[in-house]
């Protein structure tokens, strides 16, 4: 009997095209769009060689030290950490102005009674160029001071030493995985899809409640325990939703090549817990809210969107702001917990943070299920 009901619930669910769209197709479409939009966004902070120009006038031709320094900056030095900084072209002043106006270059170097840098706006690229020019002038000052103090330093080859810069920094990677903010958007998307599983929870509660659907009225007369049929319904919903989430996960990992770290077992485990949270959340909303179906769906969408927003789906820093300023809200937000599970697996590997998240999610599941059950049980109707 159990299996019979289960199979028929499954059939009912997979024939609901509208909900299938929102729970399966919509996340996949959104993932595709995210991928279009974000795949190159980290390029913005990447360093690329800066295009600059040097005004090739009389004063520049006389300044051989500067010429040498600029040439050195354009070529990559031996150290693999330090690629060449600049792509350089030599122009006249007028041409430099025009290139700058057309944004072909970030700035140009111009010698006119001293070294000048001409730029169009303030920014990081311009600061890097200025840093280089500063360095040239500062180095001269250092050498002057030293030679004045100790004229013999010239003979000891101080000039060569000055040019051989040492790299005093060694890079310590933050994690085995790169701090790629983009993955968080996709983790968020899975969390949203899990919460959209609430659609199924909502549908199942509607189906077994006599005052919500005529089907529910019929089921209530049938000689089956309410709890049993409820479990069957939720199980069917979880089955379908889990299947959809795994499909989404496969699409993200295999087609879009989003990195999830390498803890496949734990990732799937997170999906299962997230799915059950979503479905029970939907059942909870459906049983607590005593209004029409439209209102329930509205609340479901509204709350899952709010959760996703607070977990950083629209603005990546939101998650960080919440977790540092008001961590309580982070723990009360299932979407954030699911996102954080994926995030901590990716960035930190398996650690206590992951298990705390899973633990809190389980508390939510128990809470939602218990409330739903307490509301649904033993309802009697004088008339329908």
């Amino acid at each position: 009997m159990f299996l019979h009901n289960y199979i028929y619930r499954l059939k009912c669910i997979i024939r609901d095209k509208e909900f299938l769209f929102w729970t399966l197709l919509f996340p996949i479409i959104l993932a595709t769009l995210f991928n279009f939009a974000f795949s190159n966004i980290t390029e913005a902070e990447k360093f690329t060689r800066l295009n600059i120009a040097v005004v090739d006038n009389e004063e520049f031709r006389q300044n051989t030290a500067l010429q040498r320094a600029i040439k050195a900056a354009a070529n990559s030095s031996g150290d693999k950490d330090q690629e060449g900084l600049f792509n350089i072209r030599y122009t006249s002043k007028e041409e430099g102005d025009k290139l700058l106006e057309d944004r072909e270059i970030e700035g140009y170097i111009y010698l006119d009674n001293g070294i000048k840098l001409v730029v169009k706006e303030s920014g990081l690229s311009q600061s890097i160029i200025k840093g280089f020019m500063d360095h040239f002038m500062q180095l001269s000052s250092t050498l002057e001071t030293i030679i004045r103090k100790d004229p013999q330093s010239m003979e000891r080859g101080i000039l060569d030493k000055a040019e051989a810069a040492i790299n005093y920094l060694k890079e310590v990677a933050p994690s085995k995985s790169s701090p790629d903010i983009v993955v968080n958007y996709f983790y968020n998307l899975i969390a949203m899809a899990c919460m959209y599983g609430g659609f199924w929870g909502l549908k199942e509660v509607t189906v077994i409640q006599a005052n919500l659907s005529s089907q529910g009225a019929r089921i209530n007369i049938a000689p089956i325990h309410k709890f049993k049929i409820f479990i069957v319904c939720v199980l069917a919903a979880v089955t379908v939703q889990l299947f959809e989430i795994l499909l989404l996960l496969a699409y993200l990992a295999l087609v879009l090549k989003i990195s999830f770290g390498n803890q496949i077992g734990y990732i799937i485990f997170t999906c299962i817990v997230g799915t059950i949270t979503g479905v029970t959340f939907g059942a909870f909303v459906a049983s607590v809210v005593k209004k029409g179906e439209g209102v329930k769906i509205g609340i479901l969408i509204g709350s899952s969107m709010t959760m996703s927003f607070l977990a950083g789906m629209m603005y990546d820093k939101m998650k960080y702001i919440i977790s540092t300023k008001v961590p309580v809200i982070g723990y009360l937000n299932p979407a954030n917990l699911i996102t954080d599970c994926f995030y901590s697996l990716y960035y930190y590997g398996i650690n206590t943070r992951f298990f705390i998240n899973i633990g809190v999610l389980c508390v939510f599941i128990v809470f939602f299920s218990l409330c739903t059950y307490l509301i649904l049980r033993r309802q009697k109707y004088a008339s329908l």
Partner: protein, 392 residues
């Protein structure tokens, strides 16, 4: 004007759904306005990097001097020295650079031993290149002094370096654009507008057409004394009025946010662009309204169309980050042309001939979209009508 009135009655019934998208837009617009824009700066300002500086080497004049020097070009963010907190902060770009001075650094450095600072950064980022160069500059200068002048105290060393590093190149600004930030904001405002406008028009118009296209209702209307042409005319008039009204409501907040700046040539062009765009979207909405079968499908179609076109056309992310093939594909949507002309309008400093030509091209393409979509839906409608007539 019975049909015209009925059209707006249906729109009113769907107001709740439509209002959601307007609220989303308002939220985006207000959020945009709340981002602080520093006043137009005509002088050059060096960039500051958000970073964490952790020193395990106490009581070192050298390290203090280093910190002071980079402090002029960095914002030190106070974050507890907790491994996970620091790594979180780096991931979410609260800080971009974490540097640790190991214990005994100064002593080793003064004695000429090889010792390095530890940095944790976003690999390959421009900000790390910048900060690397600053730190290396300071320490290399110190190295030169330590190697060449004997018996230098830490304090003397720090003083020498700070004297040297006060020499700076002079930076001149070439015709800086004081309204640059404002123009960028305005461009984003009108870009975001595309999303909500698209969703609202598709939702509203499709919902209304759906009602008029119900077979029984359509048949009943056909045998009414009102001529089909009049009916269509009123319906189209209703559509156009709805589009213009939506447009006006969406543009309204910009007058509150940008005030006088909207009464300029740029402001006018932004508005004109939006109107032309809304005609193209109107055409598409008219088409979807005539194609889509079920009521439930409307919101799905509205979401997919508006989100989809906006994502691939560069509404939510700058265009430079989108692939070329994708952009070619996106140019098959009016949103692409709308965003394109928005960017031209936003970034031009004076009206150049090539800019005018590019903007006009966009306008024409959008109008072609409008006319084509409209023509196709009229043909579909006619076919349906003929089928219906034959059916009797």
């Amino acid at each position: 004007m019975l049909v015209y009135k009925a059209f707006f009655k249906i729109i009113k019934k769907n107001m709740a759904q439509i209002a959601i998208y307007f609220v989303i837009f308002l939220f985006l617009a207000v959020f945009l306005a709340s981002i602080y824009t520093d006043p137009a700066n005509m002088d050059f300002m060096e960039s500051k990097i958000d970073m964490v500086f952790i020193s395990h080497d106490k009581d070192s004049k050298l390290v203090d001097g280093l910190k002071e020097f980079i402090g002029e070009r960095a914002n030190f963010i106070p974050i507890a020295n907790d491994e996970q907190k620091l790594r979180d902060a780096l991931f979410f770009r609260e800080v971009e650079y974490i540097v640790r001075v190991p214990k005994g650094f100064t002593q080793a450095f003064m004695e000429g031993e090889e010792i390095r600072l530890e940095k944790t950064v976003v690999p390959g980022s421009a900000s790390s290149v910048y900060m690397d160069s600053l730190i290396n500059k300071y320490l290399n200068t110190a190295r030169l002094y330590v190697d060449n002048i004997e018996g230098l105290s830490q304090q003397q060393l720090a003083d020498y370096i700070s004297e040297d590093l006060s020499h700076q190149a002079e930076v001149l600004m070439l015709n800086p654009d004081p309204d640059k930030r404002l123009n960028e904001k305005r461009t984003y405002y009108f870009n975001y507008l595309a999303y909500s406008l698209f969703a609202i028009l598709v939702l509203g118009i499709s919902a209304a057409l759906k009602v008029f296209n119900q077979p029984d209702l359509a048949n009943r209307n056909l045998c009414s004394p009102l001529r089909l042409r009049d009916m269509d005319f009123q319906l189209i008039l209703g559509n156009i009025c709805f589009a213009i009204l939506t447009c006006l409501i969406m543009i309204l907040p910009s007058f509150v946010m940008y005030r006088g700046h909207m009464f300029t040539l740029k402001g006018l062009l932004f508005i004109l662009n939006t109107f032309v765009f809304s005609l193209a979207v109107l055409g598409i909405s008219f088409l979807t309204g005539n194609i889509v079968k079920s009521r439930n499908a409307i919101s799905a179609v509205a979401n997919v169309l508006s989100l989809g076109t906006c994502f691939i056309s560069g509404v939510f992310v700058p265009r430079d980050f989108l692939g070329d093939t994708l952009l070619k594909f996106a140019s098959l949507t009016p949103t692409y042309w709308y965003v394109k002309s928005n960017h031209i309008i936003g970034s031009m400093e004076r009206l150049k001939e090539e800019d005018v030509r590019a903007i006009l091209t966009s306008f024409i393409v959008m109008l072609v979209f409008a006319v084509t979509a409209f023509a196709v839906s009229m043909v579909l409608k006619k076919q349906k009508y003929m089928r219906q007539v034959r059916g009797f």
